[in-house]
């Protein structure tokens, strides 16, 4: 699935023009990106949480040459799927223990 299919759904559901639908979908993802950029997490109930995590610098190794290199401190984005999404992928079965960060309004 691509953005085009999402835009198509908005077009049929809301009755916006194709252009308006594309703009609003773009706005939604841009707003999410801007929020994550400032380090704030995004919690979409029923879907999952997007969390920015701070990674400390560490010594890594080039697996090909064995050479040690410093991996600099950086921020990375992780997605934690909700229990609902995880169970949907497994025919509604609850799989694995609930993660403590899974609660959607905490």
């Amino acid at each position: 699935m691509t953005k085009a299919e999402i835009i198509e759904k908005i077009y049929t559901k809301i009755g916006f023009s194709k252009k308006e639908s594309a703009e609003i979908v773009e706005l939604v993802f841009d707003t999410i990106k801007d929020t994550l950029k400032v380090g704030e997490k995004i919690k979409i109930s029923g879907f999952g949480n997007f969390v920015v995590r701070q990674k400390h610098s560490r010594i890594g190794r080039n697996p090909q040459t064995g050479e040690s290199i410093e991996i600099i401190a950086r921020r990375v984005l992780t997605f934690r799927p909700s229990q609902v999404l995880k169970s949907l992928l497994n025919n509604g079965e609850i799989v694995g223990p609930a993660d403590e960060d899974d609660s959607e309004d905490s």
Binding site: M1, T2, K3, E5, I6, K9, I10, K13, I14, I24, V25, L27, V28, F29, T31, I32, K33, T35, L36, K37, E40, K41, I42, K43, I44, S45, G46, F47, G48, F50, V52, R74, R75, V76, L77, T78, F79, P81, L85, K86, L88, L89, N90, V95, G96, D105
Partner: protein, 92 residues
């Protein structure tokens, strides 16, 4: 930021859209993503990232409380990989 807070921010940026429509838009986006993933489809969002379903092999696990062995069957998990543009934005 929760989904309802996201809707509020979007409304402040697109005043011509009604509250009800904006909620429908945001819900439609995530519902269609959920549907795509549960049908096993990959989602590619240019500038954002990709979502795909990965299969975890069955394994022996242990109940950490009782120490009892449990068999964890094959299961599917959603996996997200941030796109280059978003990665750089977050790290910038």
């Amino acid at each position: 930021m929760t989904k309802s807070e996201l809707v509020e921010i979007l409304l402040s940026k697109a005043a011509h859209v009604s509250h009800r429509d904006m909620e429908t838009i945001v819900n439609t986006i995530f519902d269609s993503m959920t549907n795509a993933l549960s049908s096993g489809n990959r989602i590619e969002l240019r500038g954002f990232g990709t979502f795909e379903v990965r299969v975890r092999e069955p394994r022996q696990g242990r109940n950490p409380k009782s120490g009892q062995k449990v068999t964890l069957g094959i299961r599917k998990v959603p996996f997200f990989k941030a796109g280059k543009e978003l990665k750089e934005k977050i790290n910038g």
